[in-house]
C-alpha cells in the first residue's frame, strides 16, 4: 500500500493486512519493505545484511569499509517470536559513497556491483536491501510473526509491501524470503516463472548474475535494467514483462503496433512467462502487475490517497473497511501508485 500524499504510516498496518492471509503461507518465509522509513539518512544507502557467522560479517565489513564510508551501523532491532527460530546475525549499515573508491560511472551501478560481490563471493553474507530511505525486513516464519519480530510498528513509511511465502523452488531460508531488494527496488512476487532460464541468461548479458534461483531476483533485476538503465516507464515495462499477444498487437493503432512489435522482438528474452502477481516498490512508487494471462490473483483498491494492492481483497478490507473503489487489474496491466509529483 502506498499513500500518494506522502503521509507516512506505521508498519503495523502492513502486518495486519498480510497476517489475515496467513492461509496462503506455510511459515517458511515472510517479509516487508518500507519506504520512507529512514528519513534521517535519506541520502545514505542502507544495507540490511544477513550473516551466518562472524567471519562473514568481518569479511563483509572489511569490504564495505574499503569502499564506503560507514555513517552508522548496528544490529537491526528485533524481538523474540516463538515462530521465528534461529535468526542469523542481522545488521544494518548506513553507507555513504567514498569519493574515488569506485570507477563505475554511476553510483548506483557501484552499489549493484557491491551487492553482487557480497552475495556472490562472500560465504554466509547476504544483502537483503541496499536502497536509500527504505529497508527490507524478512525471515523464515509466518509473515505476521516476522513483522513483529522486526518491530515494524516502530517504523513509519509512506509505502509498505508485505509478503507471506509458500516456497516451492528453493528451500525456505532468510535470504530467500520476499521482498527481494536491490538498490531501492523491492519485489514481492507470487508466481513461478517458466521463462526463468532465458530471463537469467538475458540478464547475464547486462552483468546481472542470478545467484538465488528465485524468480523474484530475476524480476528485480529486470526492473532495474529496464527502468533504471534503459529508462522505460512502468507502462512500457508492463508491455515487456507481460507482453500483449500478437493478435492483440495486430489490433492496435499503427504507432502502438510498431512499438509493441519492436518491444517483443527486442525484449523477447525479458518476457516473464508463467503465472505471477508481483508488487514492485521503489522510491516514491509501487507497481502491481500480473502475468499476461493473469494466472495469479491481484486485487487493487483506492481510498482517498491510498492505493492498495493485494492477492486477496480480504487483506485490503482488513485495513480499509470501505474503499472508494475495488478492481481487478487486467492481465499484464501495471497498476501504479506514486507520490504526488513523482515520476515513474
Amino acid at each position: 500500500m502506498i499513500d500518494e500524499s506522502g503521509e507516512r504510516f506505521s508498519g503495523a498496518q502492513a502486518i495486519k493486512a498480510i497476517a489475515c492471509m496467513q492461509e496462503r503461507e506455510n511459515g517458511l518465509g515472510g517479509g516487508f519493505a518500507g519506504y520512507g522509513i529512514y528519513p534521517r539518512f535519506k541520502d545514505h544507502n542502507v544495507f540490511h545484511l544477513l550473516y551466518d557467522d562472524e567471519k562473514a560479517k568481518e569479511s563483509t565489513e572489511q569490504y564495505l569499509e574499503e569502499n564506503y564510508s560507514i555513517e552508522k551501523d548496528g544490529p537491526i532491532p528485533t524481538r523474540k517470536q516463538t515462530g521465528v527460530r534461529n535468526p542469523p546475525i542481522l545488521w544494518r549499515y548506513f553507507l555513504g559513497i567514498k569519493k574515488g573508491a569506485h570507477d563505475e560511472a554511476s553510483q548506483e551501478d557501484f552499489v549493484v556491483k557491491t551487492v553482487m560481490k557480497i552475495n556472490g563471493e562472500i560465504d554466509g553474507a547476504f544483502v537483503i536491501s541496499s536502497g536509500k530511505n527504505m529497508g527490507i525486513f524478512k525471515g523464515v516464519g509466518f509473515s505476521g510473526e516476522i513483522g513483529k519480530f522486526f518491530k515494524l510498528e516502530d517504523y513509519k513509511g509512506y509505502a509498505w509491501t508485505a509478503h507471506g511465502r509458500f516456497p516451492t523452488n528453493t528451500v525456505g531460508w532468510w535470504g530467500g524470503s520476499h521482498p527481494f531488494g536491490l538498490l531501492d527496488w523491492s519485489v514481492i512476487h507470487n508466481g513461478e516463472i517458466s521463462s526463468y532460464g532465458i530471463n537469467k541468461r538475458y540478464l547475464e548479458n547486462f552483468g546481472y548474475h542470478c545467484t538465488l534461483f528465485t524468480d523474484t531476483e530475476v524480476i528485480t533485476y529486470l526492473f532495474d535494467l529496464l527502468a533504471r538503465k534503459q529508462g522505460f516507464g512502468f507502462d512500457v515495462i508492463g508491455r515487456i514483462l507481460a507482453a500483449p499477444f500478437w493478435d492483440e498487437i495486430d489490433r492496435l493503432p499503427e504507432n502502438q503496433r510498431e512499438i509493441c512489435k519492436a518491444l517483443r522482438m527486442t525484449y523477447g528474452s525479458a518476457l516473464v512467462n508463467g503465472p505471477f502477481a508481483t508488487i514492485i516498490g521503489r522510491t516514491g512508487a509501487i507497481v502491481g502487475i500480473n502475468d499476461r494471462i493473469k494466472l495469479r490473483p491481484l486485487v487493487a483498491a483506492r481510498k482517498d490517497s491510498v492505493l492498495y494492492l493485494s492477492s486477496e481483497e480480504s487483506g485490503i478490507r482488513r485495513v480499509c473497511e470501505s474503499p472508494d473503489k475495488v478492481w481487478m487489474p487486467e492481465a499484464g496491466e501495471p497498476v501504479v501508485g506514486q507520490l504526488e509529483g513523482a515520476h515513474g
Binding site: 517458466s194 521463462s195 532460464g197 532465458i198 537469467k200 548479458n205 507482453a243 512499438i259 523477447g268 512467462n273
Partner: protein, 505 residues
C-alpha cells in the same frame, strides 16, 4: 576372378495369393525391378535392382508386396561389417568415390534423444494450447540493443528496426535446389511455406520464374556457383542466404549432373542445358572473413538494406568463433547445418565423417554470442536432421531462433530415405527431373502434407510449451533450464550447457 559386386540390400516378397497381376509395380518401378511374364502369368521381381524405396509396396493395391532387408549377409563381424565390405567391392569395381544421398546415417549419438523437457506440476499451471493463446511467432533478423520510444503527443518508435523475416512457426524449409529436387517438389515447398507463413529456401539453383510469386516467403541462396543469381533474384526473395557450407558435405561444393540440367533448370540456373552444374568448394571471392563482410554488404546494397542477409555454414569444430565472426561481419542470421544434414549427392566418406552434431553447435554458438553480448545481433537457424517436433523445441531451448527442415519435408512428400537421390531415379518424383517420375508428385497433395506437418509439429510444440507453462516461444528460446540431460557425461552436459536430469533449478 569372379566379379564380385555387392548384393542388393533388399529382398522383395510377393504374396502370390494376393497378387492380382495388375502390374502397377511393373509400371511404376524406375529401377525395372518388376517384370510381367505373360506366358506364365506371373510377375517376377529382380531384387538385385531394388533400392528399397518402397514405392511398389505403397502402390500395390492388395498389399501383396513386402520389401525387406536381404538377410543374406557375410559372416557376422563387428569390425568388417557388411557395409564396409560392400563399399570396398563397389570401389574395387568402379575406382571412384562412393556417392550417396540424404544425411549421415552413422550411429553418432543423437543428443536430442538424451535431452528431456520440463513440465509444470502444481506450482505453476500448465497451459492448454487449445484454450489459451500459444505464440510461436518468430522473427529472424538483427534485433537492436535497445528500443527508444519518443514520447511526444503520441508515443513513437524511435529505433530503426532491421528487416526481419516473420515466421508463424519456428520451422523453415531448408535449402534444396530446383535441380536436385523436382519442379513439383519445389512448388510444394514454396506453396506450403507461403500458405503456412514460413519460409522455404531456393538452395543454390536459382529461382524458377514461376515461383517468383512465392518470393516474399523465399530465402534465396547465393552459393559458390552463383547459379541463377541476378539482381531480380535477390530482390524477389524475402531474405538472402550466403551458402558457405552444408552439413552433409562441409568443405566441398555441389554437383548437379548434366542429365538433371533440363531446359527449365538450365534457364533457372543460367547455364547451358545438359552441362554439369559444379559449385566450387569455396567462394572464390571469399578467402577470409573480411571478404565475407564485403559480400554481405554487397548483397545488402543490392537489395537496399530491405532484406535480412544471412550466412549458412556447416557445423564444424570451430563453429562458435566462426559464427561470431559472421555476426560481426554483419550477417542478420547464421544458419548452422549439423553433421546429419541432408544432400542430393555427396561423397559418402565426407557425409559420414565430417562435421559435428547440430546440438553441440547450437549450444556453443548461442553461448558464445551471448558471452560476446552480440546474441541479439543475429538469429540462429539450426539445420541438420530435425526429425520431430521435440527436436525442434529442444533446439530452440538450447538457443536456436528457428530450425530448418528438409529431409523431414521430403519424407512428408513420400521420401523413404533410400539415399539414392543422386541417381535421378527417385520413384517418389522428388529428387528427379525425369518427366515420367516428376508427375508422380502432385504438388497439391505435397503442399497439403507439408502444411499438415508444420501444423502438427507446431501443435506439438504448443502442447509441450503449454506443459512448461510457457505461452510465447521467446520465453523458451535459450531457456536451457527447461532441458535436462539423460545419459550424458559431464563434458557433454557442459558443452550443451544443461543440467543433468534430477537437478532442480
Amino acid at each position: 576372378m569372379v566379379k564380385s559386386s555387392p548384393p542388393s540390400g533388399f529382398l522383395i516378397d510377393r504374396d502370390d495369393e494376393r497378387c492380382i497381376r495388375c502390374q502397377a509395380c511393373v509400371r511404376m518401378c524406375s529401377n525395372d525391378v518388376h517384370a510381367y511374364d505373360p506366358e506364365e502369368d506371373i510377375i517376377v521381381s529382380d531384387s538385385s535392382k531394388c533400392v528399397g524405396c518402397h514405392f511398389c509396396e505403397a502402390i500395390c493395391p492388395t498389399s501383396a508386396l513386402t520389401v525387406r532387408h536381404n538377410p543374406s549377409q557375410y559372416r557376422e563381424n563387428f569390425n568388417w561389417a557388411s557395409e564396409v565390405i560392400n563399399d570396398i567391392k563397389t570401389q574395387a569395381g568402379s575406382g571412384g568415390v562412393i556417392l550417396t544421398g540424404m544425411g549421415c546415417d552413422k550411429p553418432y549419438p543423437i543428443y536430442w534423444d538424451h535431452i528431456v523437457l520440463n513440465a509444470s506440476q502444481v506450482t505453476n499451471p500448465s497451459i492448454d494450447p487449445l484454450r489459451e493463446p500459444m505464440e510461436l511467432e518468430t522473427f529472424i533478423g538483427r534485433k537492436p540493443d535497445k528500443i527508444e520510444i519518443e514520447n511526444f503527443a503520441e508515443p513513437k518508435l524511435a529505433t530503426e528496426i532491421s528487416p526481419q523475416l516473420e515466421l508463424k512457426t519456428p520451422i523453415m524449409f531448408s535449402a534444396m535446389s530446383y535441380g536436385s529436387i523436382s519442379y513439383n517438389a519445389s512448388l510444394a515447398l514454396a506453396r506450403a511455406a507461403s500458405e503456412f507463413g514460413t519460409f522455404w529456401n531456393t538452395g543454390e539453383g536459382g529461382l524458377h520464374k514461376d515461383f517468383y510469386r512465392y518470393g516474399p516467403h523465399t530465402v534465396v541462396q547465393v552459393a559458390s556457383g552463383r547459379f541463377g543469381v541476378t539482381r531480380e533474384y535477390l530482390n524477389v526473395g524475402g531474405a538472402i542466404e550466403i551458402k558457405i557450407g552444408q552439413g552433409a558435405k562441409p568443405g566441398i561444393g555441389g554437383h548437379l549432373p548434366g542429365e538433371k540440367v533440363t531446359g527449365p533448370i538450365s534457364e533457372t540456373r543460367m547455364i547451358p542445358e545438359g552441362t554439369d552444374a559444379l559449385s566450387p568448394a569455396p567462394h572464390h571471392d571469399i578467402y577470409s572473413i573480411e571478404d565475407l563482410r564485403q559480400l554481405i554488404y554487397a548483397l545488402k546494397e543490392a537489395t537496399r538494406y530491405e532484406k535480412p542477409v544471412g550466412v549458412k555454414i556447416a557445423a564444424v569444430h570451430n563453429v562458435a568463433p566462426i559464427a561470431s565472426g559472421i555476426v560481426r561481419a554483419g550477417a542478420d542470421f547464421v544458419a548452422i547445418d549439423g553433421i546429419r544434414g541432408g544432400t542430393g549427392a555427396a561423397p559418402k566418406v565426407i557425409r559420414d565423417n565430417v562435421g559435428i552434431p547440430i546440438e553441440m553447435a547450437i549450444a556453443v554458438v548461442d553461448s558464445r554470442l551471448r558471452e560476446e553480448g552480440i546474441r541479439n545481433q543475429a538469429s540462429i537457424i539450426a539445420a541438420g536432421g530435425f526429425k520431430k517436433s521435440s527436436d525442434v523445441i529442444k533446439a530452440i531451448a538450447l538457443g536456436a531462433d528457428a530450425v530448418y527442415i528438409a529431409t523431414a519435408a521430403l519424407v512428408a512428400m513420400g521420401c523413404t530415405i533410400c539415399q539414392k537421390c543422386y541417381t535421378g531415379k527417385c520413384n517418389w518424383g522428388i529428387a528427379t527431373q525425369d518427366p515420367y517420375l516428376t508427375k508422380r508428385l502432385n504438388p497439391e497433395i505435397a503442399t497439403r502434407r507439408l502444411k499438415n506437418l508444420l501444423k502438427a509439429w507446431s501443435l506439438e510444440i504448443k502442447e509441450m510449451m503449454g506443459g512448461m507453462g510457457i505461452n510465447a516461444i521467446e520465453s523458451l528460446r535459450g531457456n536451457r533450464e527447461q532441458l535436462r540431460g539423460v545419459g550424458l557425461n559431464e563434458v557433454e552436459l557442459k558443452m550443451l550447457g544443461i543440467k543433468p536430469a534430477g537437478e532442480a533449478w
